[in-house]
Amino acid sequence: METSKSLPLITKITKYTLIDEVQQRSFVILFVFCAICVFLIRGCYQGNYMVNGQALDAGTIVRTLSKATFHVIGAGVMVIAALLSMRIFRRDRNEGMQSCILSKPIARWHYVMGKALGLWVVSALFMFILHSIVFLITSINLKVFMPEYLVASLLCSINLLFVVIAVLLLSLLMPDIVAFLCVLGIGVVGFVADGIAAASQSQIAQAMLQQPTGHPQSDLTWWKVVYVLWPKLLGVQQLASSLIESGASRGFGTIYPLINVLVYCLILGALLFKRFRNEDIV
């Protein structure tokens, strides 16, 4: 089908997905709860923080706290995106929308792409609004403007695309809750592995690694390959949060995590289209 015909169809399905999600009562409650939680952190900015007996300046406090909040929101919305995605095909099937849409001159890939984009937009907007609350608190209450905070939020939404596609694919292969837990597991393992990798960079860990361990060298290499190829969700968050750092001297850091997650999105997206093409519509 021509692109000129495909694009409006995908846009319509994306719009319906977005509207349907936003109209869910559970979504509204979740959103209000998260917004209140983020709003409550404004109190944390007003304390006097001492490090090694020296008081931290307001700018450092704002950036450090905002960066921590950025990571918490980023990780939290990934869980929310997985929750929203895990039931989308089942709900559409049960409510008759899947057969209604696919009985029209609409190809299956239009439907899947519309659904995935709709969920991505919903969760990215969810995250962007929560990040915007932090941005507004720092801008209005503390007079610290961090427009890069919002740019970082947009960059971080790549992670949400990965989560949405992965859950949609797995929900076609296994029960919804298992699909959700699998993707959650991928995220947690990645976060823990990145944490261990960061800790292993310390001098103590370096010294320990140089001790003879008895493990064959090939094992270490194998785990390194797995570690490097594992979805770099935390890496993308760190890359995004590097934008928030004061001064541009640190740069963007490595862009490998971004490429890693984008490649995963493409591979999982292709598998999702292939799997859904063979799916029986009930």
Binding site: Q23, G96, S99, S103, K104, P105, I106, A107, D280
Partner: protein, 234 residues
Amino acid sequence: MIELKNVTKQYESITAVDDVSFSVQPGEYFALLGPNGAGKTTIVKMLLDFTRPTSGSLSLNGIPSTQAECRQSIGYLAENNHIPPSLSGWQYLLRCAELLDINRSEAADHCRRIVELIGMQGRENTKVGTYSKGMVQRFGLGAALMGDPKLLILDEPTSGLDPIGIREIRQLLESLKGNGMTIFLNSHLLSEVEKICDTAAIINRGKLLVKDTISAIVKDGETLEDVFVRLVKG
């Protein structure tokens, strides 16, 4: 309009449809009859590409059923039709119109006409969650009629309806007869089929037993029900 050539569908060891071939001509009111589990719904699903045949081919207007373009002028009403309860009947019809690429101003006109046709004026703006099964079925039929389709595929359209609802659906289908629309009807209700349809096919355990005009299938002194029971029971 519709053509099935040596269509077989197997689900693991079960053969749901076994080497079925028939065609339906434009303007024909066609009924596909068979007991539960005969393979009627499987044939409908294959026509709409909801499931793929194990072997054989299906086409609509000469276009293979696997291509989305073949569903350009098709209306479909599913067995046990569902509509998202968060939508109103009007919103549902509007979505269906938009998905058929009918522009917004025309879509509203289409929806208004269809609401009138299905006799749901005054209820179109309430949530589907408050509708009875019959009302959901009517809106489903309304959605199937959106965009004036050339072919209407109805899978048990009177399923779950009371006698009055069944009669109203029948009258609605009869009123469409002059429009040159082709109707593919899956039904258990033989008396309704006898009143509405011109041609019928009877299948049992996936095999096509007969396909002809109703008048040719029903001999003197028999009803369609008599023929159905005779053929199905062997």
